[in-house]
């Protein structure tokens, strides 16, 4: 079999490929709720990957966008009785807006300072939602984000049924993936990768680096906000932990475990992370220690991540085959 042709075919139809895999996913997982979680966190990691993997900006404050998406979607439903689709829009728009503010401040710094500043600015969002108890439920989280049926132009879907829920959420994830794929394939996508490789040179080539960085930051925030909004609908509650620093760290971990800067990597990372969590927590309560060790092993020995390593191996293999021929 010609591996080269296969990989290039998958790369060309990457959105279709990932959607086909995700369509089969509920049957591969022990239960549907885990599959839904992987779908949502996969999207969260995809949004994060756009910034970290492709643009090389390591944010430690992305929980702010996941959480804002969740809370605004939840508040729209609980306090204002908006329909579910309008609530999702509210979550995404609010996340993008917060992303614009945080991004505007954070891109004034570079490299590790950027990580520190995004972490600190993420804490502002955490405290702000924590204190706004009247709207957010404070420490207890926001409860009662109940959506039981999804009305799709007269077609009523039972959102309580896990499988239906999975495919409704998948529709949104698929649209988001298509969007990300388009962005990456566009000239703008080339500019952000150029920024990762050499920021100064990109600026010297005449590209407005600051504007590109801000735009990719906002896009990343909006995608994570969509993941958050979908999560609010899935869980029917919004836990305050959604905004926590450890939640930001989870995006980093999933992205690195899967393979940063690869299209499928974030989903692989989310699947590995959540599946391991699911398995480990049945044996021990010390899941955090396990994930910490696994993460350190990946940083030290497999920085390409699971998917990135597979890709690397396939490419090397194909190169060797070509040289032999």
């Amino acid at each position: 079999m010609d591996i080269n042709r296969l990989t290039s075919a998958i790369t060309r139809h990457r959105v279709a490929a990932v959607i086909v895999v995700l369509m089969m996913f509920p049957w591969l997982m022990p239960y549907e709720a885990l599959a839904i979680n992987i779908l949502i966190f996969g999207l969260y990691a995809v949004g994060f990957n756009l910034l970290f993997g492709y643009t090389g900006m390591l944010s430690f404050g992305h929980a702010a966008f996941l959480g804002t998406g969740s809370y605004l979607c939840g508040i729209a439903i609980v306090s204002f009785g908006w329909p579910w689709w309008a609530a999702i829009v509210a979550g995404v728009v609010a996340s993008a807006a917060i992303g614009l503010v945080i991004g505007f401040l954070a891109i004034r710094t570079r490299g590790i300072y950027f990580s520190m500043v995004t972490l600190a600015l993420g804490q502002i969002v955490y405290y702000a939602f924590y204190k706004a108890e009247r709207w957010t439920g404070g420490e207890n989280g926001l409860r009662g984000v109940r959506v039981e049926t999804i009305d799709l132009l007269g077609l009523k879907l039972d959102f309580v049924d896990p499988l239906t829920k999975y495919y409704v959420i998948l529709a949104f994830v698929a649209a988001a993936l298509w969007f990300v794929s388009r962005v990456l394939a566009s000239p703008f996508g080339a500019v952000i990768v150029a920024i990762r490789e050499n920021e100064r040179r990109t600026a010297a080539c005449g590209y407005d680096v600051a504007r590109a960085k801000l735009l990719v930051f906002v896009l990343s925030a909006a995608l994570c906000g969509l993941a958050g909004a979908l999560r609010a609908l899935h869980l029917s509650i919004v836990p305050i932990d959604s905004l926590h620093y450890l939640q930001s760290g989870q995006a980093v971990m999933m992205c690195l475990l899967g393979g940063m800067g690869t299209f499928f990597g974030p989903f692989v990372g989310a699947a590995v992370f959540l599946y391991l969590e699911d398995v480990t927590t049945t044996v021990t309560t010390h899941w955090m220690a396990a994930v910490g060790v696994i993460f350190m092993v990946f940083v030290l020995f497999f920085p390409r991540g699971v998917w990135g390593s597979i890709l690397h191996w396939l490419r090397r293999h194909a190169d060797k085959a070509r040289v032999a021929a």
């Binding site: 710094t109 804490q123 702000a128 980093v252 010390h286 220690a289 910490g292």
Partner: protein
């Protein structure tokens, strides 16, 4: 809220300085490590947290607060040495994000280790007997322990300053942070200097944990907010600058404590707003080298 009198303001200022003293120590360790190794230690809050636990543990073991103040930094510094030697060192030269990611993973392990060792609820603390009570400062009574915090910080800062500015080793550290290549060419094993600096930085984090333990709740998650706060201090003061760490630490402490007097709900937010303002006006911080950050 009662009337705000000048003496109340002064007392609140002192409280802020005591709080800022802990921030200053934290940022000092962080900046020391960064200035030398260009590594941002994301486990710094975890080292602080372990210091708080060990401080309480050694206090119970030896019965002496002073012993615990000696043993804790030694023990935490030892953890730091092991971490640098076996985990951080392999990553030098492999991109600036990797040590950061690694120390982030390390913080998870440290948090869980303390949960295993001391339970998830944390441990109860009390002010050591010899430092209880309050002293009259002329404008009101101020807790003796907080006064001690300020004094202890001053001693550490002075000691560190003397070490770095006046000793042979300090000279090597200063030279190494400026140009590690030249120092290596001069026949100095720079890897050992880095090891030592990482050890000192984490030991200071451990000490600040032990010092802060009697004034706050000691639990495995306490390091998380501390990490964010020490980042604020470092960004405000300027990364890698030791005077910046001290001054910004005190400033952040004072801002926090003054806000909690006038608007308690906004206290946590105030220091982050301070950071945002500094970023807008002077992205490299008060004492940071221009261009280092942006």
């Amino acid at each position: 809220m009662g009337d705000i009198t000048p003496s109340l303001l002064l007392l609140q200022l002192m409280t802020g300085i005591a709080l800022g003293a802990v921030y200053a120590l934290l940022a000092l360790g962080l900046s020391l490590i960064f200035g030398m190794l260009t590594v941002v230690n994301f486990a710094h809050g975890a080292f602080f947290m372990v210091g708080a636990f060990l401080g309480v543990y050694f206090l119970g073991l030896t019965g002496s607060f002073w012993f615990s103040l000696v043993l804790t930094p030694l023990a935490v510094g030892a953890i730091g040495l092991v971490a640098e030697r076996f985990l951080v060192r392999p990553l030098y030269g492999r991109g600036i994000d990797y040590p950061l990611l690694l120390t982030f993973g390390l913080s998870y392990v440290m948090i869980e280790a303390m949960r295993v060792a001391f339970g998830i609820e944390g441990v109860a603390t009390s002010t050591p007997a010899e430092l209880r009570g309050a002293v009259n400062l002329g404008f009101g009574y101020f807790p003796l322990y907080r006064l001690f915090l300020i004094g202890a910080t001053a001693v550490v800062v002075l000691g560190l300053w003397l070490f770095i500015e006046k000793t042979r080793y300090g000279l090597i550290i200063r030279a190494g942070s400026r140009d590690p290549e030249i120092v290596r060419v001069l026949g100095i094993d720079i890897a050992r200097v880095w090891l030592l600096v990482f050890g000192i930085g984490t030991a200071i984090a451990g000490l600040s944990g032990a010092l802060a333990a009697p004034t706050r709740a000691v639990n495995p998650e306490m390091g998380i907010s501390v990490l964010a706060e020490s980042f604020v201090v470092t960004v405000v003061g300027g990364m890698g600058s030791l005077p910046g760490a001290v001054i910004a630490g005190l400033l952040v402490g004072i801002v926090f404590s003054m806000t909690s007097l006038f608007a308690p709900d906004l206290a946590e937010l105030s220091i982050f707003v301070l950071m945002a303002v500094v970023l807008l006006i002077k992205p490299q911080g008060f004492f940071g080298k221009a261009g280092l950050m942006s």
